[in-house]
């Protein structure tokens, strides 16, 4: 079962760390990522650039509108995604609890939805529509 973990960064404490503290934290995170990879629990992951680099799309009045942001008005920003391969939710919790990143802000664990049946049903609907 795959779980996508959304890691948030508590901005204030992070900016207060010294350079060496920050490096140590980063090293611990990558070292644990290696453990996850070695044990087959790593199913992917990416860090994110800051919210000031983001673009938001919104469909409004028949058009797509682009805005920048969302900005870091909140004290927590989405900092990265990690995809876990785990037996169940408790296993995912156990794996993520050991990640040093949990010390830097809250994480949200979401099981991935298997879209295969939905895709198959949609393909059938579209195929039937073409036949008509």
């Amino acid at each position: 079962m795959k779980y996508i973990c959304f890691g948030y960064l508590d901005v204030q404490p992070w900016t207060k760390l010294s350079d060496s503290e920050r490096s140590a934290m980063i090293d611990q995170c990558f070292a644990y990522d290696d453990v996850l990879k070695k044990n087959g629990n790593w199913a992917g992951g990416e860090g994110l650039q800051g919210p000031d680099s983001a673009a938001s799309l919104r469909y409004r009045d028949g058009k797509v509108e682009v805005t920048d942001g969302p900005f870091a008005e909140t004290k927590e920003i989405l900092g990265g995604l990690l995809m876990l391969e785990a037996r169940d939710l408790n296993h995912a919790i156990q794996l993520l609890s050991q990640h040093p990143g949990v010390k830097m802000g809250p994480w949200e664990i979401r099981p991935v939805q298997d879209l295969t049946p939905m895709i198959r049903a949609s393909q059938e609907r579209r195929a039937a529509a073409t036949r008509k």
Partner: protein, 410 residues
């Protein structure tokens, strides 16, 4: 069989036993779970080139143990309990690979007793047992109990923390403690069964998956701990399970015992249950599960409600009420007496219970009272009691049943 399929099959059949042994060796649930997954991972990597070992289970236990030691050596800031467990030997003692089945059975018993430990909250005991002993996933348990997965996950996390922090020992209880601790385990298994047999809420009357797990647990426990009350519980569950197909209409409505099509009863389950009842009652003092199984057996052997040995059933309830003087047992005794001696005798016992106020909020006592009043032709009283029962139940099929009965009164 190709290695990935073999490993998959081994995971299904052996992972719970290997986990039970790893918890003993490592002294920590979470470390054991990590080690278990790492061991299976190692099997997937190594067996294709090195060949499948002669004793795969022993290999997996050994690999899990070494993985845990390895992890401990490299770990940064992991808590202590592991260290203590690993101190004596870095390598497994020689000859342990041949560890006999009795040793492994003990580990499984340790796991069951720990998951059902009285220091844990009752809901945590069922969740932990279903996950660690039966191998259900958190999501499956949450679905079976109609709970949010996160809430259930939290329950399991807390229970494991409790086991670690309170240093709940990983052991089979001593002879003096055994009866009480055994009863705690039986209670967990029976709760799981009942949730599957008579779901406490929701649209559907039964959830066969949970009953199936309870039966599996009962059989496992009987294997590990042959004991009259374990036999009694397994017999009771088998005999109730035998009626599942007759217990509800295709639309999911409840069918009372007296109206059930007895040809739908599962004769194989009945035969297995009856055999166990005989064993459970062989001793000098049958326990509550043995007596309840004997009552279920009397029903299972009757060709119809009319040709049921109600005298025997009323007598068995009398014995049971002495061991378990609960209002629910007395209510059942009253119903059996009503069948044996007539509705009036039963109604007197039910009214005595209601006078004490013990079961005012229990829908079944009002339904039973309504039924006896109906048989006595006391329509107005029957109506009041059916209405009272309706006010107290949330289960959709039971509500439909009561409404139907209410509609039939005139």
């Amino acid at each position: 069989m190709a290695v990935p399929e073999l490993v998959e099959a081994l995971y299904r059949s052996e992972s719970r036993r290997i986990l039970a042994t790893l918890i003993r060796l490592l002294g920590d649930f979470e470390a054991a779970e990590d080690a278990l997954h790492e061991a299976f991972r190692a099997a997937l990597e190594q067996w294709p080139t090195e060949g499948v070992p002669e004793h795969p289970r022993a290999w997996l236990v050994s690999a899990g143990r070494f993985k845990a030691i390895d992890r401990l050596r490299r770990s940064v800031g992991r808590e202590l309990p592991l260290q203590e467990a690993l101190e004596p030997a870095a390598a497994p003692p020689s000859g342990w690979e041949q560890e006999d089945d009795a040793g492994l059975a003990d580990d499984q018993l340790r796991l069951i007793f720990t998951c059902c430990h009285p220091a844990l909250p009752p809901e945590a005991r069922t969740a932990l047992t279903l996950r660690e002993v039966c191998g259900l996933t958190t999501e499956e348990i949450a679905r079976a109990y109609l709970t949010a997965p996160a809430a259930l996950a939290q329950r399991i996390v807390r229970a494991k923390t409790r086991i670690r922090d309170d240093r709940i020992p990983y052991e089979v209880p001593s002879a003096e403690e055994l009866p009480a601790r055994r009863d705690a385990v039986l209670k967990v298994i029976y709760l799981v069964f009942n949730e599957g047999y008579s779901a406490s809420s929701g649209e559907s009357l039964t959830r066969p998956d949970l009953s199936g797990e309870a039966l599996r647990l009962g059989r496992l426990l009987l294997n590990l701990l042959p004991d009259p009350e374990v036999q009694g519980l397994l017999a009771l569950m088998l005999l109730q399970e035998s009626r599942r197909r007759a217990r509800a209409t295709p639309d999911g409505d409840l069918v009372l015992l007296e109206d059930q099509d007895r040809s739908l009863w599962d004769q194989a389950l009945i035969a297995e249950g009856l055999g166990l009842v005989d064993q459970a009652l062989a001793g000098p003092r049958p326990g509550p599960y043995g007596l309840q199984a004997a009552i279920a057996a009397a029903h299972a052997q009757a060709p119809s409600t009319g040709r049921t040995d109600w005298a025997q059933i009323a007598g068995l309830y009398g014995l049971l009420a002495r061991l378990l003087p609960t209002p629910v047992v007395k209510l059942n005794q009253a119903v059996a007496v009503a069948m044996h001696e007539g509705p009036e005798a039963g109604l007197a016992l039910i009214d005595a219970l209601l006078t004490v106020g013990a079961l005012d909020g229990y829908p079944l006592i009002h339904a039973a009272r309504a039924d006896l009043c109906r048989r006595l032709g006391r329509v107005a009283e029957a109506r009041t009691s059916y209405q009272q029962a309706l006010r107290l139940t949330n289960q959709a099929p039971e509500r439909r049943f009561l409404e139907r009965r209410l509609g039939e009164l005139h």
